[in-house]
Symmetry: C2
Subunit: 173 residues, 2 copies
Amino acid sequence: MKRMIIDMDDVIADATGQFINYYEREFGIRVDRNSLNHQEEGMGFPGNYEIIKQFPYREQFFQTMTPNEGSQLVIEELNRRYDLFIVSAAMEFPQSLPEKLSWLKEHFPFLSWKQIVFCGSKTVVHGDYMIDDLYYNLDGFNGEKYLFTAPHNLHIDRFNRVNNWNEVATRFL
Amino acid sequence: MKRMIIDMDDVIADATGQFINYYEREFGIRVDRNSLNHQEEGMGFPGNYEIIKQFPYREQFFQTMTPNEGSQLVIEELNRRYDLFIVSAAMEFPQSLPEKLSWLKEHFPFLSWKQIVFCGSKTVVHGDYMIDDLYYNLDGFNGEKYLFTAPHNLHIDRFNRVNNWNEVATRFL
């Protein structure tokens, strides 16, 4: 069975949408998702960058994210055909660890705790396929690399690209 | 730089000693460490197995462990010469995640969060050397395997063995 490594934020969880929600709650302005295109994570929001950087440290930030469309159905099926791991570089935000674990249990109940990895650097994991939105996670990976489209990675063209979970299903199922 | 994977419980943290402490607090009997030799983890304690199994779910169980003798000095030096990761199969005990992180920060302040991995199964990590007290973690590893002596692994002889942190220093420094 081939091993597949899948990221959380902006791959199975709508982290960008959560930033938009928190920004709106804080500043009363709903930022259009497309206006974030081609900018670093957290950088497309007007001003107040220091406050935006703090959002991921707030309680419930990770716990209340929306799963990306199609991720649940597709991963349930992938889980039957691949040795699947969810690998999240979560160690930077210690309070996110129990939230992420409980989020996975809520939205991906068919996954076992044995399939979950929280790390700092993903260079230590290996496998056959990696699906991630961040180029530096893919750069350090030994297997086939798939960039999952997010506003901050539209300008990167050196990887295979999957735009959404339908495309992941088409490629892997 | 060669990559070294080091376990937490019963390798850098005295998990066995913590079970002994909790057992004494609960039942008023201080179990001799040697009486646990050659028995599965948690199985050498007289009776009450169901209660003993619950100890790791209690608050502070992981937070208040004692670092194993020599582990801090030796790992500080290893950290200069190896691409070092602390990898703990912590996912079974969700409440342990922030405790383990904070324990590492307290006792191994020279390590970065980028060097920490919490997982369910260690099959997903790869490297050149692994030091672990559990045979099934070593079995799934791609590199050189070192069994760190603990009461529950004395009967296993199919790996290189390190009995303490002095022996780790002798082998790797």
